[in-house]
Amino acid sequence: MTGPKLEQRIEPEEELALPNVLTTRLDLALNWFRKSSVWYLLFATACCGIELMQTGGPRTDLDRFGAVFRSSPRQSDLLIVAGTITYKMADRVRLIYNQMPQPKYVIAMGSCANCGGLFTPSYSVVNGVDKIIPVDFYLPGCPPRPEALNEALIKVQEKIQGEPWFKKIKVAR
């Protein structure tokens, strides 16, 4: 998680920092399955949503990577924040994020979700979704092309593949 203002940071415990052959192999296998089934939430607040829909369509078919959409946050792993987040919507975005079960990942899609974009001076727009929730990947563009979102999904998969699943983690508050 690489957001600038995080409420909680996740660090590996120090005594388990040395790689163990068995757990590393198991990690690789489990992560390979885990990354092949990233279900994303149907969530779009602005024009980036059109590109999000397009990404599930024929040309850049997210289903190839095992990524299907779920309409309920309880069943999804990936939150793609597609579009402008207003202050009114900010509460809902955070609620949706909290409703998703761990492990969960967030892509901030488009300039508006990254930093407010075109609407930065506006009185009602959150200047970047990372002010509300932790973000894994920032996807530039206004709006980004479906190919770019596809690339972001592959980046999420790379991140999942590198995660230590068996290593104990402690949450520093």
């Binding site: 399955f33 885990r34 089934s37 024929p58 078919d61 299907v68």
Partner: protein
């Protein structure tokens, strides 16, 4: 399974009269556990890959590819989905009714799995040949309604509750056309036992109940339609309507608990196809081999009989091919038709399906009275119905070919080279 258990008692322990032997219940218990493990394994192995098949078929219909990254052609996609859901956080909302919330997926799963007890997979491959088999299937699958309503209620979410209530209304309504169209079979076969229903038919298509007369032909389609509605499949998937109810009764479920609902849905796909197969399409009947001959083979052989094993395997293969074909058609229906409205759903059930099934019952009764079985007129009607059925299959294949030709032409126009699909992607 009873026959196989008796065979084991006779050949392993040398006891001819299993009924009076004091330890025969141990063998029966062992066979029960074995059958249960076998059935659960079968469900798991069926329900997993069929999700991949469904997503590939969906991809073909939407001119996408579908999952093709995990394993050869993405075949291991079901393992990925299952493992990921196992590793997810087990999340129960604070406001949910915890005991009911935990119980609901189990009820749904039990209701679906209970039906596997009487499904005849082969000549002697049935867990228990109950003499009220069809009634048992209709009764045990009612547990699903309870589970879905419980899931909707315990989630403490308005969308989940709407989904649960909708599915209850739908499942209870569509029980009636299902039961009525199965009545047609009960009238023809004169029994409720699933094995006896298969034995009342024959191996060749003209002995199947579906081609017996026009009314059974109609009843087959009515049964498949109402089973679709009972399984919450598109075009009757109102409890899960995304545009209205987010995700329906399973909206608050995550991880493995959610997977139980999915599992039950896929298992139900097999049950639906199996009921259609053994009631109308001749079940496991091998063309040219009478069921009595297989019985005699088991009774005669003291010791291992390879011909009996071979015939069992063959009968299972025939049953599996017929049922898988029905599953395939149901999957294609799912990705072809749009969803019905709630009032349309109820109208379709009470105004059309129920009267039509009643007409089917009356028609079958009249045909049984007027036309003598095995007569020239009887075989004439069967032949006519086979022509109609064959025409439908031919239409299916022809449409598949037309779609393939269209795709080939547009590919050649766009890319300037010939298109090649592997044969499994043609349909």
């Amino acid at each position: 399974m009873r026959q196989i258990a008796d065979w084991i008692i006779l050949n392993l322990f040398g006891v001819a009269d299993a009924g009076s032997w004091p330890y025969s219940w141990l063998v029966y218990l062992g066979m029960m556990v074995f059958a249960a493990v076998l059935a659960i394994t079968f469900v798991a192995i069926f329900a997993g890959p069929v999700t991949w098949v469904e997503r590939r078929v969906a991809g073909r219909i939407m001119s996408r590819l579908g999952p093709n990254r995990v394993g050869p052609q993405g075949f291991l996609q079901w393992l990925a989905d299952g493992l990921k859901n196992l590793l997810k956080e087990d999340l129960i909302p604070d406001a949910a009714d915890r005991p009911l919330f935990r119980l609901a997926p189990h009820l749904v799963w039990m209701g679906m799995f209970g039906a596997f007890v009487v499904l005849p997979f082969g000549a002697h491959l049935v867990a228990a040949d109950l003499n009220v088999g069809l009634l048992y299937i209709l009764a045990i699958t009612s547990l699903v309604v309870l589970g879905l309503l419980m899931a909707g209620w315990a989630s403490n979410s308005k969308w989940a509750l709407y989904g649960g209530i909708r599915s209850t209304a739908q499942l209870v309504s569509y029980e009636i056309p299902t039961a009525f169209s199965l009545m047609v079979i009960v009238i023809l076969a004169g029994t409720l036992s699933t094995q006896e229903i298969v034995r009342a038919q024959g191996g060749w298509p003209w002995d199947w109940f579906v081609f017996r007369n026009p009314f059974t032909f109609l009843a087959f389609f009515l049964l498949m339609t109402s089973s679709l509605a009972e399984g919450n499949r598109v075009p009757f998937d109102l409890p899960e309507a995304e545009s209205e109810l987010v995700a329906g009764y399973n909206i608050e479920y995550s991880g493995m608990r959610f997977l139980f609902f999915l599992f039950a849905e896929w298992a139900n796909l097999w049950i639906m196809a199996a009921i259609g197969t053994f009631c109308f399409l001749g079940g496991w009947q091998i063309p040219g081999v009478s069921p009595d001959a297989i019985d005699a083979l088991l009774a005669r052989s003291h010791g291992w009989s390879w011909s009996w094993v071979g015939l069992q395997a063959l009968s299972f293969a025939i049953f599996a091919i017929k049922a898988s074909w029905l599953v395939f058609v149901v999957i294609q229906i799912r990705w072809t038709l749009p969803r019905l409205r709630v009032d349309q759903l109820m109208i379709a059930c009470w105004k059309y399906l129920v009267p039509m099934t009643l007409v089917c019952i009356l028609g079958v009764l009249a045909m049984a009275l007027l036309i003598p079985q095995g007569g020239v007129l009887d075989y004439l009607i069967r032949g006519l119905m086979m022509v109609v059925g064959g025409a439908l299959v031919a239409l299916f294949l022809w449409r598949a070919r037309v779609n393939y030709m269209l795709a080939r032409d547009s590919y050649r126009k766009m890319e300037g080279r010939e298109l090649w699909f592997p044969p499994y992607r043609l349909v």
